[in-house]
Symmetry: C2
Subunit: 518 residues, 2 copies
């Protein structure tokens, strides 16, 4: 059969040819069709070449969800450069470390991020040029001694038609760092092939199921793991693409959904809470909305029910990771199956549950195990790492603990590194946290291990009360009785006024352990 490289530029080529006038809308700013987007992105490739970039060179983006950012995606990837997306909410030191490891040569910067960019450029000698997206202004202070281009001027002065896709499908396309709460951030280098296959996998009718009739609101940042793949999936099917810019506030999203006839929306649950609150306060509705895809963290049933009832839309829970491009599992788009847990696994990803030693569990259903994955869009080796991150069977360790029910629904039940080993047996903090977290007056909650001369480790409960609440230790522990094994009940309760958070917003257990258990 024909040789046909699976490269992501083909998605935009397809959209430009068949869905030339389907719109890409940036809130309060640009509006264009796929043909226009393709022409501009391609001219951007020419401009980047004119700046001296070569195949495989990395271009960093520090930007929100906008047309310019999308053009940076295709302008880099189409020409064989690597789009390195940066999360503006991370610390300067972390970002600079990523950029230096990536040896980024160009930095594209969105609105409101110039001061951060100035700091980063100071720490990153490899950056030769800065591109200002979305009308961002440098202001009176220059960005050190780097060349600075406004995006539109760069297109005007350096833009030129460029050849796209003239490379192997295994060429790198994107770079995204994980930013867990442990250790140094690790880079995942996506290839054209992995992104292409991820897109087709996600487009299945039982998964993300986008169509040309859809208008998709991408409320997940484009710097998070390929923007969950929507920058590829939308042009691949000719869906209208609605980009909210920086804000994901309820009022902003509600207006976008109403103005742009949004049918599918994707983002983490906090975003949808804001939308719900806004709709409740104003009495507005979002009648065009049909589906909401949520991910990032397990979603409580009560929130799913509130969303489905208030939005009159189907909620699709999902589970994914940067290392998975990112889609792992997702609840089906249609049918009578309720959104349970984090959904089921579409073709192209193999899951297995192992014990702590890595041995495959004899029974894979209704038991908790360490979740390992294998597939066409899964990392094998972190960027610039010396060894593969795979087991002997070629599986990647997600670091998650999970169960799978009889219908194949996955439930993430904790992180393996958070497990506490007491008397030779494992205690799963996540299960205790879930119970305590539901109690009245409890804000944030974390369970960490403290070393113990007799048992090896023992659990300690750390709680942050909600404002104006006092928590009673006995009441807290009482709630666990009968719900977890007796020996899982923490030995000690620590009250904190503010839980330490990592840059990602997750609780920083490393700091907790350092502060309270050593």
């Amino acid at each position: 059969m024909q040789s046909y490289a699976l490269t992501v530029d083909k998605f935009l080529d397809h959209a430009a040819k068949w869905w030339e006038n389907r719109e890409i809308v940036t809130a309060g700013a640009h509006r264009t069709g796929y043909a226009g987007l393709r022409a501009r992105s391609n001219r951007l490739s020419g401009a980047l070449k004119a700046l001296g970039l070569h195949t495989g060179d990395r271009v960093a983006t520090l930007a929100w969800n906008t047309q310019h950012h999308l053009e940076m995606y295709y302008g880099t990837m189409g020409a064989g450069f690597v789009c390195h997306t940066l999360n503006p909410r991370l610390a300067v030191a972390h970002l600079a470390a990523m950029m230096n490891e990536a040896e980024d040569r160009v930095l594209a910067v969105g609105q409101g991020l110039i001061d951060l960019a100035r700091e980063l450029v100071f720490h990153c000698p490899s950056i030769e040029a800065v591109v200002l997206l979305d009308g961002a202004q440098v202001g009176p202070r220059p960005i050190w001694d780097r060349q600075v281009f406004a995006f539109e001027s760069l297109l005007d002065t350096h833009g030129a038609e460029a050849e796209w896709g003239a490379f192997d499908e295994n060429a790198p396309a994107g770079l995204c760092y994980t930013s867990g709460t442990t250790g140094a951030p690790k880079g995942v280098l996506y290839t054209h092939r992995s992104n292409y296959l991820h897109t087709l996998r996600a487009l299945q009718a039982d998964a993300i199921a986008l169509t040309a009739a859809d208008s998709i609101l991408v409320a997940v940042p484009m710097f998070h793991a390929n923007g969950w793949g929507f920058p590829f999936a939308a042009p691949a099917v000719g869906a209208k693409l609605v980009l909210p810019g920086r804000s994901t506030e309820g009022a902003h999203l509600a207006k976008l959904i109403q103005d742009e006839g949004v049918t599918v929306a994707a983002g983490i649950q906090t975003v949808w809470l804001g939308l719900l609150d806004h709709l409740d306060q104003t009495g507005q509705d979002v009648p065009t909305l049909e589906r909401v895809i949520i991910g990032g963290a397990p979603c409580p049933d009560s929130l799913i029910e509130r969303m489905e009832s208030r939005l009159q839309a189907r909620v699709q829970t999902s589970w994914g990771m940067t290392e998975l491009s990112p889609l792992g599992t997702v609840a089906p788009a249609q049918g009578t199956v309720r959104a349970i847990a984090s959904g089921q696994v579409p073709m192209g990803l193999d899951l297995k549950l192992t014990d702590a030693s890595g041995a495959t569990l004899p029974e894979q259903r209704n038991v908790t195990g360490h979740l390992k994955v294998r597939g066409h869009s899964v990392v094998d080796r972190y960027f610039k790492a010396k060894t593969d991150a795979l087991d002997a069977e070629g599986y990647f360790d997600t670091g998650d603990l999970a169960t799978i029910d009889d219908e194949g629904n996955l439930t993430i039940s904790g992180r393996s590194k958070d497990l506490i080993k007491s008397g030779g047996e494992w205690i799963n903090p996540a299960e205790i946290e879930a119970i305590i977290g539901r109690l009245p007056g409890v804000g944030q909650v974390a369970v960490i291990g403290q070393s113990d001369p007799k048992w090896g480790e023992r659990p300690v409960l750390v709680v942050e009360p909600q404002q104006n609440h006092t928590l009673d230790d006995a009441m807290l522990l009482e709630a666990l009785c009968g719900n977890v094994a007796d020996w899982w009940i923490p030995d000690r309760v620590i009250h904190v006024s503010q839980m330490p958070l990592a840059p990602t917003g997750k609780i920083d257990k490393i700091r907790l352990r350092a502060e309270y258990t050593s």
Copy 2:
């Protein structure tokens, strides 16, 4: 990212793990789950190895749509053998030529096909063993001196677990011959990669859109171009698979749809005419049916309307070819877009229209051109051919004339080899045939070219009246006036009592030309 070969055995592995009890139903015969199907197909691989087959060896199937035939698909492909599907409706000489070119080593034969198989084996010395599917009996006459195994006995005596997928994704998986009305049949050798990608492409929500909630009736023969891909698509998503066996009669299909809760059905239009007639005669309904996918030939609007109204199901027209694996275009599964023409083109296939010399037409919309295609599941070179079947840009010539409208809907308007060149300009017989074919009393109709000293060629109209009808030449030609250019109007009308047909059921224009215009 991880190396992950795109091989079709992964579809059945996926189904066996996640949809183990979803059924594969063969009308009046077997019923099993995907886990059972996987185990049996895998043991069949072991049996074929025990017969001495090696990687890449061809195994022919002469069979209907049954579980055994599906097991032959996976039993061969999973182990790296090639499944060569044969159309039992072709002439012995054609089939024997295909088998000899393929050097098939094993022939699997379904019910009612033993006599044909006996003839084929006589002509094909490479066949070493015959496998009897679905309880087929050899009868008192042996099959020459070949080994003969009943399918179940072969599994019992030679079945063994076998390793699947231990080869490159570009390894061959299937072989299917085109059987056009011109020239010798040509083989298309599908690879694992082309079949895998074809499956993902077809599964998009705007295309075939199968889900785990579906029950799919495959009324297209499994010997036609991968059975339109359903043997792969169904396990890939865990859909229930309903196989009708040999019969596609209306009463048989109606009962299957009712008994097995069929939601999606696929087949050529004649099959659905039989279903409609049966439902009208009996007053029955098929309430579970949601969609019908038709292909094989352009479908008249009146039939689409009758189907949608009587079946209360959405009709998806499509266009494809053996050389395309076979899906080319398809009308979307949902939404407000009406099924027009042959639908739109999902990602993964590029189309272009050229003139007769092969030059790309400057305007691609609303003009008729020669349709060329490029994609991951398109043939590059016919089996054992010495040269590629591609143009300089890597496109394959479909041999079809087509137009594409502003919405991207493809309409096939004829075959390029049927075109008649008169006075240096082209006449498209298909357009004349369409007009004449709608006249009362007209059965079959064909327009062919006759050489002419002045104009080069001139059109001749050949008609077969419906039973008990007489056709008036002047009336026939009058119907063309104003609907085609004056110089397109045929010079001569020939009445035949029976139009000569090729083995595929299409009108044999070669014979017509030989008989009436030379």
